[in-house]
């Protein structure tokens, strides 16, 4: 499996790089992203990722009670956690850059970037985790007024970064301004984040409030066997509450909206010099569906058992057939297929006024793909 994932990772990077090279070679590129847009997207991704990691891995980490009950200074705990998020993201970026360098070297791909782009990128990768960390910590302050003031301050750093990257200033000045934003973010961390950290951790990790999602939840038809139905309903609740379903739902919806935006920008018969002609939109739909299925179906299937780990005793000691239990777990994942169909496979063919046969084929092939991927995922997980 490890070899398989390495191949997938390299393959993915290779495809992205090929696409960049391909786009750069086009004369009249309608979807030509500016350097500022590319840099800001990467920066924003890392900031959002760091923010999520801070909430899940730092603020909700109950084991920090050992630190807080020790003679350690609360500021030191704050800085060590900040450093952890920072270093982890830098490490990840380092690995990604190494793979890119390797792929670029092996395939002799020419990327449309220069050394100033790289410098800005590195600075942004240093800045992004800091801003993400600040926002997460400050958004969990209990005092509402203080929370708003602090969040506005930390949020401004993102706005300022966007302004600098789209300012059209020379890279030298852009670097200078980004360093200033970095210093300002450090000031926010030192004077706002660190003093409030213990209070924030305490209120976030010790939160005993009941979730407001404890309604009746999903109810499946009784024609499905009781064990499978029960397990699927419970698994669906668990996934929803882990924000896994809402998160991937947002991603899939965004991809669907992206398809519509591409259509509104390129029109019904785009000729990007790709030689794809009438296949352009069908290919786009297929690629988007592939991504949606990987995010929404394949990855959760692969995690099906490993995520439960020590909790598997619950189902292993039940007087039920394991096949029914596993079916229930799988059903909870497959249940999200209407989202993929309605967001990816259907809207664009309908807008494009494609024949009914294509609309049906799009939905059918996406469904087949969903079941295929869930099968592969479950097989690998088992």
């Amino acid at each position: 499996m490890t070899l398989w994932f390495i191949l997938l990772t390299f393959g993915g990077f290779w495809l992205i790089l090929l696409m960049i090279e391909f786009l750069a070679d086009l004369d009249e590129l309608l979807l030509n992203p500016s350097q500022g847009n590319v840099l800001f997207s990467i920066f924003f991704f890392f900031a959002a990722k760091s923010s999520a990691e801070t909430v899940e891995g730092v603020l909700r980490d109950k084991s920090q009670k050992h630190y807080f009950s020790s003679p350690l200074n609360a500021d030191s705990i704050f800085y060590s956690k900040l450093l952890r998020v920072w270093l982890y993201n830098l490490l990840l970026f380092g690995i990604a850059m190494s793979i890119v360098s390797l792929v670029v070297g092996v395939w002799n791909i020419k990327l449309p970037i220069d050394h100033q782009f790289i410098l800005l990128l590195y600075l942004l990768i240093v800045l992004a985790p800091l801003i993400g960390f600040n926002i997460s910590v400050l958004s969990h302050i209990k005092n509402r007024l203080l929370k708003k003031i602090n969040l506005v301050l930390a949020g401004q750093m993102i706005t300022l970064t966007a302004i600098v990257l789209h300012s059209g200033l020379s890279p030298f000045y852009q670097l200078g301004y980004l360093v200033l934003i970095l210093v300002a973010s450090l000031v926010i961390a030192v004077f706002l984040g660190a003093p409030l950290y213990e209070e924030v951790w305490s209120s976030t990790s010790q939160n005993t409030e009941s979730s407001n999602l404890h309604g009746k939840g999903l109810k499946l038809p009784k024609s499905i066997s009781k064990s499978t139905r029960l397990v699927a309903e419970v698994e669906f609740k668990r996934r929803w509450r882990r924000r896994q379903v809402p998160g991937s739902l947002i991603v899939v919806t965004t991809m669907g909206i992206g398809l519509i935006l591409i259509y509104s920008s390129l029109g019904p018969r785009p000729d990007l010099g790709l030689g794809l002609g009438k296949y352009f939109y069908p290919s786009l739909i297929a690629m988007t569906a592939f991504l949606a299925v990987v995010i929404h179906i394949l990855i959760p299937s692969l995690n099906l058992f490993s995520r439960d780990g020590m909790r598997l005793w619950c189902v292993y000691t039940l007087p039920r057939d394991m096949k029914e239990i596993v079916s229930g777990k799988a059903l909870a994942i497959i249940l999200s297929f209407p989202i993929i169909i309605s967001m990816i496979a259907l809207p664009l063919p309908i807008i494009l006024d494609y024949p009914l046969s294509f609309i049906l084929f799009s939905a059918f092939s996406s469904s087949v793909f969903i079941f295929l991927m869930s099968g592969i995922g479950l097989w690998a997980a088992a």
């Binding site: 409030e209 397990v231 609740k237 509450r241 020590m310 005793w313 292993y316 000691t317 007087p319």
Partner: protein
């Protein structure tokens, strides 16, 4: 009825269990004592079908633990570590487990309500278990083990993390269950718990059953005043 014969479990060169024999009849409480890593939890996991033995047999009501599916209705299990579905509420978890154990929905709701009231977790039963204290999780595990009224109970450290009041409560519940004919195998390292409730005590050390008998028999044999002394004496000479 629980019957364990010449049970062995090896992990490569390491022998976790070196031929254990235990027999429990209906209405009997058997306390398994042992140092950390002595093999108590391994034995319990084999009995519940979570682990497969290398050799030997473990049977519950005549059914081999190797064919776990047949015996799952015959026992209630309380694991040592409260690994629960943190994103479910206590009520949702018990509803799922109870339903899958075949309890009728109407009866199940009443049982959950009764148990949560008696164990004083009613105020928390509709909150996510991730917010529970260890003691509260322990109570959920106990309710889960007994909710379908199985004829055998396998309890791994049942009084762990409970305050003295609830520890006492669980002990009297265990005694009550035994008086109704349940066969109960429990592991513990809290000797007073074993001393209070067990009909028979087995001391396991480095995968071997080094002493077995009623509490009074063990006290007499080792010339000790309490089970803690018995345990130290037996383990030191094992």
């Amino acid at each position: 009825m629980i019957e364990i014969k010449d049970l062995r479990k090896s992990y490569g060169e390491f022998e976790a269990l070196k031929g254990i024999d235990i027999f429990l009849e209906e209405g009997e409480i058997y306390a398994l004592l042992g140092s950390n890593g002595a093999g108590k939890t391994t034995l319990i996991k084999i009995l519940t079908g979570l682990l497969q033995p290398s050799t030997g047999t473990a049977r519950i009501d005549g059914h081999s633990a190797r064919h776990n599916k047949k015996i799952r209705k015959r026992f209630g299990y309380m694991p040592e570590h409260p690994d629960l579905y943190e994103k479910l509420t206590g009520e949702e978890f018990l509803q799922m487990m109870g339903s899958l154990k075949g309890i009728d929905d109407g009866k199940l709701y009443k049982k959950i309500e009764k148990f949560s009231h008696e164990l004083e977790i009613s105020d928390h039963i509709q909150k996510e278990m991730g917010s529970y204290s260890k003691g509260m999780k322990q109570k959920i595990l106990f309710i889960n083990a007994v909710i379908n009224d199985p004829p055998n109970l396998i309890l791994d450290e049942p009084t762990n993390s409970l305050d003295p009041r609830f520890s006492q409560d669980i002990k009297s519940r265990i005694e009550d269950l035994a008086s109704r004919g349940k066969c109960i195998l429990m592991s513990t390292h809290i000797t007073p718990v074993a001393e209070d409730v067990a009909d028979k005590v087995g001391i396991i050390e480095q995968g071997k059953l080094v002493a077995e008998g009623t509490v009074s028999e063990l006290l007499r044999k080792t010339d000790s005043d309490n089970l803690e002394q018995v345990f130290i004496e037996v383990v030191n000479h094992a």
